[in-house]
Symmetry: C2
Subunit: 182 residues, 2 copies
DNA sequence: ACCTGAACACCGTTCAAGT
DNA sequence: ACCTGAACACCGTTCAAGT
């Protein structure tokens, strides 16, 4: 990759991140990103084949934060239920302020062709670790996909309806209780 | 309303229902509806100010079905948990085959200006009835809005990801267990 | 009153032409 | 190789002109 192309790519991601953060996925047009980054539309699409692929690049840091959140929660001196609530809450917070991200990632969970496929794998892996560690405390038969979808569903509604921390915590409490129930 | 206008309105809703059912909300354009109904775009918009308002009219029967489903579930000779699962399952089924409806109604739950506001009121009312009847069996402090959002969130993910009945039932079981947990 | 359909505004994406 | 920006295809919505 040529140095000027690399510079363009980096600037695009940086500027797009600020715009998406401010206005959400649907509130930013590709033309707007191109203009703000000082490149032509073609250059934007040369680096990112779709708007969702650009969004995926913008959410890059997300992956590391997911891992850190599970580690922290599993290390807590607390009940399985409270560990779940802590991790779920951190996950929803991670998506907080990225309007449109939660629904997109959640709906991509079963789709290997999605631009978010790598993120989905990480997220599923995180919930698999939870299952491996909390094993017997959880309801039998529950799998990582189901937990990922349940928490992702709550995150998507919280995002779309602009719910406050208390409302989110309460919904996640219900899900966590349901997951530890026999 | 003039007779010809009434006829036009009815035909539009009928044809739109078939198209939305077949292709989902996003898969049908307003031009397509107008053409299929044999009217100009202006006529379509005279009867329905937005695409969502048209969708709301298409989902008219929904309201009665919601009431019937709660009645049936509450009349069951079963535990509170199983009544919840029955009603939630019926609700998700109601939206099944209307791609895009679940997410729209769920996100409209807090918004009185939404075209779906009347449906939201009915849905919230249905869950309020559930709370009134099952009262002490449910977790303290839970309200109709929270239940509506939780079940709506599951419905939206089920719709968006094309989940099967078993996957949906399992997720609803988690939510129901969480709602009856102390 | 009600209808028509061309037109507007916007947006994701492509591509011929340039350097 | 990489870039530009006009152009394409599509879509929700509006509005001047008709009956």
């Amino acid at each position: 990759m040529r140095a000027d192309a690399r510079r363009n790519r980096d600037r695009i991601v940086e500027i797009a991140r600020a715009l998406f953060k401010e206005k959400g996925f649907a509130g930013v047009s590709m033309d707007e990103v191109a203009k703000a980054a000082g490149v032509g539309a073609g250059t934007l699409y040369r680096h990112f084949p779709t708007k969702e692929a650009l969004y995926d690049a913008v959410l890059e840091a997300w992956t590391d934060k997911v891992k850190a959140a599970v580690d922290r929660a599993l290390g807590l001196d607390a009940s399985a239920r409270d560990k779940l609530v802590s991790w779920f809450g951190d996950y929803v917070d991670l998506l907080n302020g990225h309007k449109g991200a939660a629904a997109r990632i959640t709906l991509a969970l079963g789709d290997p062709a999605s631009p978010f496929a790598a993120k989905c794998t990480r997220y599923l892996g995180a919930n698999q670790r939870v299952i491996d560690e909390l094993g017997p405390a959880l309801r039998p038969g529950v799998d990582a996909m189901e937990i990922s979808r349940l928490v992702g569903a709550v995150a998507a509604v919280a995002d779309g309806s602009g719910l406050g921390p208390d409302e989110v915590a309460s919904m996640l409490g219900v899900v966590a209780d349901g997951l530890v129930a026999a």
